[in-house]
Subunit: 328 residues, 2 copies
DNA sequence: GACCCTAGCTAAACCGGTTTATCTCCGGCT
DNA sequence: AGCCGGAGATAAACCGGTTTAGCTAGGGTC
């Protein structure tokens, strides 16, 4: 089974290749009845232009790329990215090239390769680092890109982000209003920009302890043990993701610390896990966020000048894991 | 910043385009010192062949595809697929084209389009239906494909699967050994092949009720309410995924049915959710499964004749949600 | 009637590779 | 000397599109 090419259409319609190209792309240069005839033949033969050939003529690759840096096995629990990808897809007519690599170097190399190979029209950048080399790379390559979730502005790149600073501030204010004074934070990877942003907001809002984690259940449990075992244990903990929060809740329970009686818990990013654990969580519409990012990238690819889009502020969904401080 | 083409290399090395092509691809027809010279120039100029141009010469597209049919927003909770994708990636040197669509028709159309556009060298087929039209489609298109997770053999296609029948049998035997006699099953979508397979295994192993669900928490809860509210409530329920099982456990609790005292619960597919809910679960290494699928697909793309690979039998991880039947 | 324009189309070049046909040179065999 | 064969290279065709230059016919202008 051979697929029809533009030559076949041309032969069948009795015109030249060039005329077919003009007709199919709705461009001037052919009469209306010729165009109609060509379109008729094309649809009759089930013609589909080869993206490959089209891309070769310096047109678009009709695909955008996303690289995730993760220890491969750790990916399954990250519902966030899957939601994000689903949202992106919902707004994209073109394909998404996805690759998971295990190091930052490999990521950089991959972006360069994709660019050199003419494989993508643009890329998403996620997990932005503090002073991220990728920002510079994109500019020098001239590869359209959108920074996803890295608060603030980045060089010449378009950016879609949620205000982590304001969100963290509102969470702390909420806990303070409940009477909490000793508030701790279990942070995510300190190399990530949004972690720093949240750290800053946390520190300026309250005088509390910050313990670093890496988003795994183990690190969440360890951090919680550390905090609860200290001389002045906190009465509220804000975790940087759902997995660590759930693990923390389990540790508290095993230590005989009542939640929310003696300890209030807030998770960043809502999920089935939080719903089931009845954890108060900071919920954002990740799907819509992805959709917004996709729109931004497509716009940049089309040649629009890069813009910054601020996502709506995450909303705190109060469930059973937060309560007024016992001391209040 | 313009990237170097094969023509630039040829000019710089003082040979023809053809010679460069032969040299770079390690094929006979050029002398060793010419080859060395060409390779030197190429690496010096940072040459990368354009996949696009290469694909045009009826070579490979250097990418494989995966289409998921899901209501887009439902995707985030499916850790299974993310694990699977991560595993696939771990064994692939080429890129993965991923697209989420919302209907089976769109999926078929997309496969055809990818094929027509020369976009992929092969595809993964997941969520196999009973008598799935895609199997026939792949054969007629001549598009290399691997069926992932559809028990058994499928036409001319390669297949990678776990023995759902044996797994279900072993779960039921385990529950019977604990003294359970009234065992129920909350199944997944009945249109899926593996659902039918598990149904068959369940029915031949025990005389129990099967209620259909759709993998959502709501359906799991509804099914559980139905079962527990019946005249002869089951003493054990096997759920087709983790989300439904967790929801079911919550319903049981709310109805005052003790788990595992009065009701034992088993979830199909382990996850953070099961770990946290301390549910006994049928665990398989989804990551390794994906890796195996990728190897199979690459082999078929390379021209190997399609083979069936049977995955290791899922292992039952016993946690706190199963116990001897109270009646035993 | 000579001239110019333009609509409508064709032929051909081009994108960046691969592949095939051809050409040259050199050495070995009889 | 004459013939053959093979190694090593090149030119050119090809993949399936897009794009540009050029050609032709018909109509309007003076």
């Amino acid at each position: 089974m051979k697929r029809p090419t533009i030559k076949d259409i041309a032969a069948a319609a009795g015109v030249s290749k060039g005329a077919v190209s003009l007709a199919l792309n709705g461009r001037a240069g052919v009469s209306e009845d010729t165009r109609a005839r060509v379109l008729g033949v094309a649809s009759e033969l089930g013609y589909r232009p080869s993206v490959t050939a089209r891309a070769l003529s310096s047109a678009s690759a009709d695909a955008v790329g996303l690289v995730l840096v993760r220890p491969p096995r750790a990916l399954g629990d990250e519902a966030f990215f899957f939601q994000l990808i689903a949202g992106m897809q919902s707004e994209m007519s073109c394909a998404l090239l996805l690759q998971v690599v295990s190091s930052r170097e490999a990521e950089i190399a991959l972006y360069q390769r994709w660019w050199a190979e003419h494989r993508v029209d643009g890329v998403f950048l996620v997990d932005l680092l503090v002073s991220d080399p990728r920002v510079e790379l994109m500019s020098s390559l001239g590869l359209p890109a959108v920074v996803v979730g890295g608060s603030g502005h980045h060089g010449e790149l378009a950016s879609v982000w949620a205000d982590d600073y304001a969100a963290m501030t509102s969470v702390v204010e909420y806990l303070k209003a409940l009477g909490h004074r000793r508030i701790a934070r279990v942070a995510g990877l300190s190399s990530l920009l949004h972690t720093v942003r949240r750290d800053q907001a946390f520190e300026s809002a309250v005088d509390g302890v910050i313990v670093s984690g890496d988003y795994t259940a183990e690190s969440g449990a360890a951090a919680t043990r550390l905090l609860l075992g200290s001389g002045e244990p906190p009465t509220a903990i804000v975790y940087d993701n759902d997995v660590m929060a759930v693990a923390g809740a389990a540790v508290a329970e095993s230590l005989g610390v009542a939640v929310p009686g003696e300890l209030s818990i807030v998770a960043w990013d809502d999920s089935v896990l939080c719903q089931h654990g009845r954890l108060t969580a900071l919920s954002r519409d990740t799907f819509a966020f992805g959709a917004r990012a996709a729109r931004a990238l497509l716009a940049v690819v089309e040649g629009a000048s890069p813009t910054d889009v601020e996502d709506v502020l995450p909303e705190l969904v109060v469930r059973g894991s937060t309560a007024p401080s016992a001391r209040a």
